[in-house]
Symmetry: C2
Subunit: 137 residues, 2 copies
């Protein structure tokens, strides 16, 4: 259905939230979940993915939490999608050839691949910095 996952939406909100708080400020998952308005446990998973990708940095222990791991003009929406949803596959055969019954005779692969790259380029064209500017007006 060409829809992003909720986990991605959560992650994007979290990153923009962290960004408005500034690079230094350590924010707990609880605070973000309360402030933005969704499930703490699930947001926590998104944060772990963002951390592994270096987009967020974490501080463990009491007084711990998350901060941004990179400058806001060095992270794009595509990076966040990659961190949370993994490599994009517009069509099944991208995941694994044997996912498609007609892999060998398929004529659309070239087109679908370029289409996917173009969509990726759209996501990569927005940095958190530019997204914030759009939000704040």
């Amino acid at each position: 259905m060409l829809q992003v996952s909720r986990k991605f939406e959560y992650g994007l909100h979290a990153v923009t939230y962290l960004a408005t708080k500034g690079l230094g400020r350590v924010v707990t998952v609880k605070e973000m979940a309360d402030e933005i308005g969704f499930s703490q446990e699930f947001l926590s998973k998104a944060m772990q993915s963002l951390k592994r990708a270096g987009i967020a940095a974490s501080v463990q222990g009491v007084k711990g939490g998350y901060t941004l791991g990179k400058a806001i003009d060095e992270v794009t929406v595509a990076d966040i999608a990659l961190a949370i949803e993994g490599k994009p596959h517009l069509v099944r055969c991208g995941v694994k050839a044997d996912r498609c019954e007609i892999f060998s005779s398929c004529h659309h692969r070239g087109y679908m691949n370029t289409l996917q790259h173009k969509i990726q380029a759209l996501l990569a064209a927005t940095t958190i910095h530019s997204l914030l500017k759009e939000i704040e007006g």
Copy 2:
């Protein structure tokens, strides 16, 4: 995960298959399923959707089947996606506001909407005619 549905893939293959056969030729679902290589029953559903949208035309009864309903330069990949998957909703709140817990406080809606429109524009930029040229080289 930003992936198109299999039904859409089926439909796109069917449309390009019909296109190579020419506007006049009536083709059965069985022939297409055999030739392209997938489930007749499921492809049948895709064809019904394409027919409702006017992209395919049908002939009932013995010797019946499907033909293209429009000229190949008047149908875009976006039209096929719309016919088969319905109106696109990149994010849940597009489907229905109450699908999102934070609808009223959400800051990303504007961006996600423009992103969606850009993706639609990508799909709308390819007609069956241009897709065939790409395939046939």
